[in-house]
């Protein structure tokens, strides 16, 4: 009877501690981001997703690997926000609960939190169809998911091994280095580990063993700080005698106050001011991770300039990350707000580092193309199809895709790409060929693409269906992938102009969007302003989610939508008739203008402290 009576309060207490756990508090964010991420990856993979269960991940193509690393970074972040270095909250520390009862609950929360994003993304990526209302899952991808979670769980538990007497492991440089080494090791292990059941069993065994080791090492009670070395009982009297006789006297007796102070360094004040501002705004784990990801995105975005790949999703993600960095910065500005530091300086400190990271990544990517032994081309032949930058796609006039006919009469009608399944604007890829097309037709399409993209003249012989094609060339076509030599080293005026104008528009648009978004922190004296802010920020987000879900369910064609945007920018660039160099020179001007617009709004925002958030974080 008594035991049953005691169970209910303990269960209630457990529930209370669970609800206050940082892992639990971040649940909805993790679910939302993981679901969107999973859908995006699945939508991006298209009809033929890669086989992830065939071998270690390092054997996958570079793009898949890059995508996996980005996804892993999110998993790692979801693990970090559980504050795994804190074994117990201060609240639980003050309660009559033994560490052996508190820690398992907290550890379970943390492990569940690292499992949740992995499970959601795995479910989305592994889905291969439906049967009886249930998703059909790819076994290899599911096994990879289990492997990833196993490694993350091992990381989380191994990260809790040091400073076992304290309720929170102090973030000393040695511990940070330990975590960094563990994280790098975890990623490496995930990439190289074989999809073998034996390895999986070993991994789960290691997780259990580390967890047991943690549990076994728990003290009878935690302390808030690292305690002094324990003194043997017999020495206590001697110790007290030492205190009386040998300890250094109190400061006031031994050292005059003036000895304690030293003249404050006078030089470097300006640098110190910037260091302080930048430190407050960007020297925290989330900002550092976001900045690193932005650098990586900048590195990837270069591909958009030099290859036919469409990097629009990365551009959108980079924009979202820029928003994230700015939001983080604004949330931290309350520390500096009482000081006479101009808002323009604060704005520069908030906005310029992420832009600099993006530019740094972009520069590194550009350098890679100049130094690397391979040469990128704007026209390629991959996946048994001619690849061109998307601005060279066409809008079907009156919704009818025209027939593409070679001089010798062979013809092919490219597949119609309506923007939505319900109809609307129709796009097509004018250099497409059919499965039954002859090698001569494919060669003709490749040459047509090269001529249009690079503005060069195709050889007259391509009009002859009986022209000789080398056996190597025919083999490459049959293989379904090669880089046309004629495209190597050639630029494209149209492509350059399109991207230069795109950069100008993006810079201006970013400024406008930033200004509208900053309205969230504006004085609360206008209902209309609030409404417009909600609409301006909510509608694009809703649109993005609708696109992602629509893309995954094939209701909308995201590729065609991206192409339509690029076609419109290309038409604008052609209407302006300005050289690419001039447009590229205008891009920084547009950026400054866009930032000026945003800065005007930033100068008037309110920066209240986030009291509730800080209280919560102080507890854990």
């Amino acid at each position: 009877m008594t035991a049953r009576a005691n169970t209910a309060p303990v269960a209630r207490l457990g529930w209370l501690l669970l609800r206050r756990d940082p892992a639990w508090r971040s649940l909805w964010q993790v679910i939302l981001i993981s679901a969107v991420l999973g859908i995006v990856i699945r939508a991006g993979a298209g009809a033929e997703p890669p086989d992830l269960g065939g071998g270690p991940l390092v054997t996958q193509p570079g793009r898949i690997l890059a995508q996996f690393v980005m996804t892993w970074l999110w998993f790692f972040w979801a693990t970090l926000i559980t504050n795994f270095w804190t074994r117990s909250s201060r609240l639980a520390l003050a309660l009559p609960l033994s560490p052996r009862r508190v820690w398992p609950l907290r550890a379970a929360c943390q492990l569940a939190m690292s499992l949740l994003p992995v499970a959601l993304v795995t479910l989305a990526v592994a889905q291969r169809g439906w049967r009886g209302g249930l998703p059909l899952l790819d076994a290899g991808t599911v096994r990879l998911g289990v492997r990833v979670w196993g490694v993350l769980a091992l990381f989380q538990l191994a990260a809790q091994l040091p400073a076992r007497l304290q309720h929170r492991i102090p973030a000393r440089p040695a511990y940070v280095a330990y975590i960094a080494a563990l994280a790098a090791g975890s990623l490496w292990l995930t990439l190289v580990s074989p999809p073998h059941p034996g390895f999986l069993a070993g991994l789960l065994g290691a997780v259990l063993l580390t967890g047991a080791c943690n549990w076994w090492c728990l003290p009878t009670t935690w302390s808030l700080t690292a305690g002094a070395p324990a003194m043997p009982v017999g020495d206590s009297r001697a110790g007290r005698a030492r205190d009386a006789a040998g300890c250094p006297p109190a400061r006031s007796e031994a050292q005059p106050a003036s000895v304690m102070t030293s003249p404050v360094r006078r030089s470097g004040g300006r640098w110190l001011r910037w260091r302080t501002i930048l430190g407050v705004l960007h020297a925290h784990p989330l900002a550092v991770i976001l900045l690193l990801i932005l650098t990586y995105y900048g590195f990837l975005l270069v591909e958009d300039l030099h290859t036919p790949r469409n990097m629009l999703p990365f551009i959108l993600l980079a924009a979202a990350l820029l928003w994230g960095v700015l939001g983080q910065s604004v949330g931290r500005l309350h520390r500096l707000d009482p000081l006479p530091i101009s808002r323009s300086r604060l704005f520069a400190a908030a906005v310029l580092p992420p832009l600099a990271c993006l530019a740094l990544g972009f520069g590194a990517g550009e350098l890679r193309y100049r130094v690397a032994p391979y040469t990128p081309t704007l026209v390629g032949y991959w996946d048994r199809q001619v690849q061109v930058p998307r601005e060279f796609w066409c809008v079907a006039p009156a919704g009818e895709v025209p027939l593409v006919r070679a001089p010798w009469g062979e013809a092919h009608r490219p597949a119609a790409r309506p923007l939505t399944r319900l109809g609307g604007t129709m796009l097509y890829h004018p250099y497409e060929h059919g499965e039954a097309s002859s090698p001569a037709f494919i060669d003709w399409q490749i040459w047509r693409a090269i001529a249009d993209v690079h503005g060069v003249r195709a050889p007259a012989s391509i009009s002859d269906p009986d022209r000789p094609l080398s056996p190597g060339y025919l083999a490459a076509i049959a293989r379904g992938g090669f880089t046309p030599d004629a495209s190597v080293g050639l630029g494209s005026a149209i492509h350059a102009r399109t991207h230069a104008l795109g950069a100008c528009l993006a810079a201006l648009g970013a400024g406008f969007l930033l200004a509208i978004g900053l309205g969230h922190w504006s004085p609360r004296n206008s209902s209309w302003r609030r409404l417009s802010t909600i609409l301006a920020t909510g509608l694009p987000v809703a649109l993005m989610i609708a696109l992602v879900i629509g893309g995954a369910s094939e209701l909308v064609d995201i590729g065609a939508m991206g192409a339509l945007v690029l076609i419109l920018v290309r038409n604008g660039a052609e209407a302006l008739a300005l050289p690419a160099g001039v447009l590229w020179a205008l891009a920084p001007v547009c950026l400054v203008l866009g930032l000026w617009i945003a800065q005007e709004r930033f100068a008037r925002i309110e920066i209240p402290p986030r009291l509730s958030r800080r209280r919560f974080h102080e507890e854990y």
């Binding site: 003036s258 102070t261 707000d337 009482p338 004085p523």
Partner: protein
């Protein structure tokens, strides 16, 4: 030109629930104003409005004749600010924090800085995160006063400090600045601090200014009337001119009246016919409890 002016300040974080509703008062050079009120009365909000960190939904605030949101730099360079939740950059050393503030304030007084460094004896090489709460607050005060501000805004500056550090902190602020004519606007829950520091008290309650009087006037011009419940109807007593607050305790009405004890006794007898009332002067803390307790 007055140092601080609040005109009909209105501010609500939620629609229909104003934190401040038409709050207005002003301060001149040398005034030391203690801002009182219960938790959530709007003290911090008002001080943040003064600093230009929040914009009021209606009304205006002027510091040295300037709008702090229109001229933030010009205003902040003449103001010192310390608040309970203010966090100095924890990754900096004490000396670096001071050096940064020296950069930011053109009127920085290095002699005063040295004097305060010696007085507080905070190790300059220590990082902010390693300091105790009292030491960190002392560094914040040093940074707030070493540029000899014309206005010092203290938002619960001594919250969480032990009595010795609190007294040291407040005495430093008063000694250094008030004798030079610096206006001090501070909020506190420690009535003893208010009584020791303030020349004037502004009490915020129900989103409005309930009291705005010099401290001496509060001591002499207000009294607590204890009237048996059976002797008078509570509503009549509440409606009596000068009655600021009323509550019942132990079979007696406890009324705060804006008159000295003798005058209060006479008014009760004359207007309500109560002869058995006991009127007495009361300390600030009692007055605060009676006023805000009787009106909530």
């Amino acid at each position: 030109m007055r140092t601080v002016e609040f005109h009909e300040i209105t501010m609500a974080y939620r629609k229909g629930e104003p934190v401040l509703d038409g709050v207005g008062f002003a301060a001149d050079g040398g005034d030391v104003i203690g801002l009182l009120g219960r938790n959530g009365a709007g003290k911090t909000t008002l001080l943040r409005i003064a600093m230009g960190m929040l914009a009021p939904q209606a009304g205006a605030v002027r510091l040295f004749g300037l709008d702090p949101r229109e001229h933030p730099l010009a205003v902040k360079q003449r103001v010192g600010y310390v608040s309970e939740d203010q966090i100095l950059p924890e990754f900096l050393k004490v000396a670096e924090v001071i050096a940064m503030h020296r950069q930011l304030f053109p009127s920085w007084d290095e002699t005063l800085e040295r004097r305060l460094c010696e007085r507080f004896a905070v190790p300059p090489g220590a990082r902010i995160r390693t300091l105790s709460k009292g030491q960190a607050r002392q560094v914040a005060l040093l940074c707030a006063v070493a540029h000899r501000p014309e206005l010092l805004v203290l938002d619960e500056p001594a919250g969480g400090l032990d009595p010795a550090v609190r007294r040291e902190f407040l005495e430093t602020a008063i000694q250094l600045l008030n004798e030079e004519g610096t206006t001090i606007l501070f909020s506190s829950h420690h009535m003893t601090d208010v009584e020791r520091m303030a020349g004037r008290v502004v009490l915020l309650h129900d989103a409005a200014v309930l009291l705005d009087n010099p401290l001496d006037e509060l001591r002499e011009g207000f009294s607590l009337a204890l009237v048996p419940v059976a002797a008078v109807d509570g509503e009549r007593l509440r409606a009596m001119p000068g009655c600021l607050g009323l509550r019942e305790q132990g079979g007696a009405w406890r009324a705060i009246v804006r008159e000295g004890p003798a005058a209060c006794r006479e008014r009760l007898a004359a207007e309500l016919g109560v002869a058995e009332a006991r009127c007495q002067s009361l300390p600030l803390e009692e007055m605060f409890i009676e006023l805000v307790g009787g009106r909530s």
